[in-house]
């Protein structure tokens, strides 16, 4: 089955747009973090699609790096969120505007 490259690219663009929208407009910090994952994965889809289309394996290699970094990012991000929550008793991102602990 031969899927044209526009399909995965369109999917990636849609995922990225949804992620970006979520990052910018959602209140809950956890959802924001999830949306960041969504954006990263949209990029992954692009990498894979173009690697296959162009026959270059470097693109697929990059995906592994992105997944690793994303896992690490989630681990750190959630840890920060836990601490922030225990301090502020909220997960509303608007409440984290001050740098003061």
């Amino acid at each position: 089955m031969n899927v044209p490259v526009e399909f995965p690219l369109g999917l990636a663009a849609a995922l990225f747009a949804i992620g970006a929208f979520g990052v910018v407009f959602r209140r809950s910090v956890i959802v924001v973090l999830m949306c960041v994952e969504l954006m990263l994965n949209a990029v992954n889809v692009t990498f894979v699609a173009l690697a296959r289309e162009l026959g270059a394996m470097a693109g697929q290699t990059a995906v592994f790096f992105v997944i690793t970094v994303a896992a690490a990012e989630v681990a750190v991000g959630l840890a920060i969120l836990l601490v922030a929550f225990s301090r502020r008793r909220t997960l509303d991102g608007d409440q984290f505007a001050s740098l003061r602990g």
């Binding site: 910018v24 924001v32 991102g93 608007d94 984290f96």
Partner: protein, 648 residues
């Protein structure tokens, strides 16, 4: 003219300067005893050294000078000024006046300031004054003379405001400072122009002897220059020597301790203007117009101040206006070209007026600060010595024959008459009559007539201790004797002082018109009559029928009020200069400074604050705003790049 090198002269100045240092140390260490020793001693040492210098000079032929070149002071382009001292006949006279009378006044001050806790500061200022005054008369260049000139001005300011806790005293000090600033500015400009002229003649020097020597050259090369310079220097002299129009500071300067008034504002500093004109006599001789102005200023000041002194109630104010008036005679003398006559009056006045001031100070001291004559009277019985020396001083200043003022005042008036300055002569003669009246009015009201003071003050009244009366008696002796140094030519030993000074002074054109013996005697008789009439009038008004004075004052209301209020000169100056200056200052403060300058500076600050306030909103701290901004930026960049490559 032979010049003898000697290292002696620098020590004359150094002695009082050392006194200043020790007195400052005494003030810091609270050692009043040390100050009371060092203060007078340093001046007496200076007197001894000055005496040695004068005797050495006297042993040399006439016209010689002692010089002491200490070191090169200024070298700038063509200008080179050395810190160098020079003693010639004129400086010798000034040296003896300053250190001699200065010593007596310092000793008197020991008694006068005996209850003063701050005596070390007092003697530090006094010694600094003596040192500055010595620099002024010893200076061999106009630049160094100006250093002394400013130094005495500063000390005068410090000493007038010695009791600075009282506002009036501090104000009087400032008035003296500001009036002198006006004169000093003119003096400086005159000095600059003079140097410019000297430089144009390829004689770039400010040495007094060089200026005097070059005066005829200057006059022939640039006829306007001596006149302009002399007039500017005259303005400087009117400030320092309290002449019209800058005399206003001197009467107020009596706010300082009385020894200060006697030393600075009578005997020495205020005569600096006369000294300066005499010092530059050869330059002044080349500027007949300036000389006429000098004579006019002197003569009019003489009568003007004497009329004010007629009605004042404050004894020290009477003496202060009297000083202004007497310096008028000196200025008149040098103005008509009789330099030695002016200097002779400077010498006699230094003695008899210092005497009068110190006697008035003794009264003030005994009466616990009371100096209004309406509250004095009848003190002669309790203070016989003070009363007698005041009488001697009064006879001297009034010009009674045989006393020193008679000889010197007469010499000045004669010179004015002989030089054809008939108006100036008449003003001087009227001034002489006024002088005799006001000084005897002061004498009668203070020491004779009935007692007007409160009984408890009179009960404590006593004669002064010897530390104050002995200097008074020495001065009284001098006030009688010193006049005999200047007898009319040919009589007994003649004009000793005049001959002593002659080699260093110029002969002004027109001065040596000889008067016949009959004219001389006539003039002398007129002056004596004027003096005796003044004394008699004072006696009638204040001793014989005291009611008369009050009735006359009431009758001639307007004239009396005019004199009582000193012609409203202070008020006029206040309106013309002080107020307008204050208004201008307020404008500069409120409009220029507060509105424009502060507005600019604050405006810059405020606009930065405003912009920063706007920009601050961008940094909300909200992560999502930043994310949105990043996204928008990325979209713009990518979109822009795409649009460009796509060729829109």
């Amino acid at each position: 003219m032979p010049e003898i090198q000697t290292d002696l002269l620098r020590w004359i100045v150094a002695a009082p300067l050392l006194g200043v240092v020790l007195n400052i140390a005494a003030a810091l260490g609270n050692r009043a005893k040390l100050a009371r020793l060092v203060g007078p001693a340093s001046v007496i040492v200076a007197f001894g050294l000055a005496l040695v210098a004068v005797l050495r000079l006297a042993a040399e032929p006439a016209g010689a000078a002692l010089v002491d070149d200490v070191y090169g002071w200024i070298e700038a382009g063509p200008l080179a000024v050395n810190l160098a001292f020079r003693v010639d006949a004129l400086t010798a006279m000034m040296l003896l006046i300053i250190t001699g009378i200065g010593s007596l006044i310092h000793i008197y001050a020991l008694g006068y300031m005996d209850h003063e806790p701050d005596v070390a500061r007092f003697f530090a200022y006094m010694n600094l004054f003596v040192a500055s005054m010595l620099v002024l008369v010893l200076a061999d260049s106009l630049a160094l003379l100006f250093v002394g000139w400013e130094g005495v001005g500063a000390c005068s300011y410090l000493l007038i405001g010695f009791w600075y806790a009282e506002r009036a005293n501090a104000d009087a000090g400032q008035k003296a400072m500001i009036a002198n600033r006006v004169g000093d500015a003119a003096f400086l400009i005159g000095m600059f122009i003079l140097f410019w002229g000297m430089n144009a003649l390829h004689l770039p020097s400010l040495k007094l002897s060089a200026i005097n020597a070059a005066a005829p050259l200057l006059a022939s090369a640039m006829p306007w220059l001596p006149t302009l310079v002399c007039l500017l220097l005259l303005v400087g002299a009117t400030g320092k020597s309290a002449q019209i129009p800058l005399y206003v500071w001197l009467p107020d300067a009596m706010a300082g301790p009385t020894p200060v008034s006697a030393l600075i504002h009578v005997a020495t500093m205020v005569t600096a203007g006369v000294y300066m004109i005499a010092r530059l006599s050869f330059l002044y001789a080349q500027a007949p117009v300036a000389m006429d102005v000098v004579a006019l200023v002197g003569a009019s000041t003489c009568l003007f101040a004497a009329t004010i002194a007629l009605v004042q109630d404050d004894l020290k104010k009477v003496l202060a206006y009297s000083t202004v008036s007497q310096i008028g005679y000196m200025v008149l003398g040098v103005g008509v070209g009789a330099f030695s006559a002016g200097l002779f009056h400077l010498l006699t006045h230094a003695l008899f007026k210092a005497l009068l001031f110190l006697a008035a100070g003794a009264v003030m001291h005994a009466m616990h600060g009371e100096i209004r004559m309406s509250k004095l009277g009848g003190l002669g019985a309790k203070m016989p010595i003070t009363s007698k020396v005041f009488l001697v001083g009064s006879l001297a200043i009034a010009g009674v024959p045989g006393f020193s003022g008679f000889f010197s005042k007469d010499m000045v008036l004669e010179a004015a008459f002989a030089g054809g300055h008939r108006v100036a002569w008449l003003l001087g003669l009227m001034g002489a009559a006024c002088t005799a009246f006001y000084i005897f009015r002061a004498y009668f009201l203070t020491f004779r007539t009935e007692v007007r003071a409160e009984p408890e003050k009179m009960a404590h009244l006593h004669e002064m201790p010897p530390v104050m009366t002995v200097p008074l008696m020495i001065l009284a002796l001098g006030a009688v004797a010193i006049g005999w140094l200047g007898l009319p030519g040919g009589f007994l030993w003649g004009n000793v002082l005049g001959e002593w000074l002659a080699p260093v002074l110029a002969r002004a054109p027109g001065h040596h018109a000889h008067l016949s013996a009959a004219t001389l005697l006539g003039l002398m008789g007129l002056a004596t009559t004027a003096a005796l009439a003044g004394i008699a009038l004072a006696w009638v008004f204040y001793v014989r029928s005291p009611a008369l004075a009050g009735r006359l004052a009431a009758r001639s209301g307007a004239a009396y009020r005019l004199l009582w209020n000193k012609y409203w000169i202070d008020e006029i100056y206040d309106g013309l200069f002080v107020r307008s200056y204050a208004a201008w200052s307020r404008f500069a403060w409120r409009v220029v400074d507060t509105t424009i300058v502060d507005g600019l500076v604050n405006g810059v600050g405020q606009s930065v604050t405003l912009l920063a306030g706007l920009w601050r909103r961008v940094q909300s701290g909200d992560l999502q705003h930043y994310a949105l901004a990043t996204l928008a930026g990325a979209v713009t960049l990518v979109g822009g790049a795409w649009a460009l490559t796509a060729g829109f």
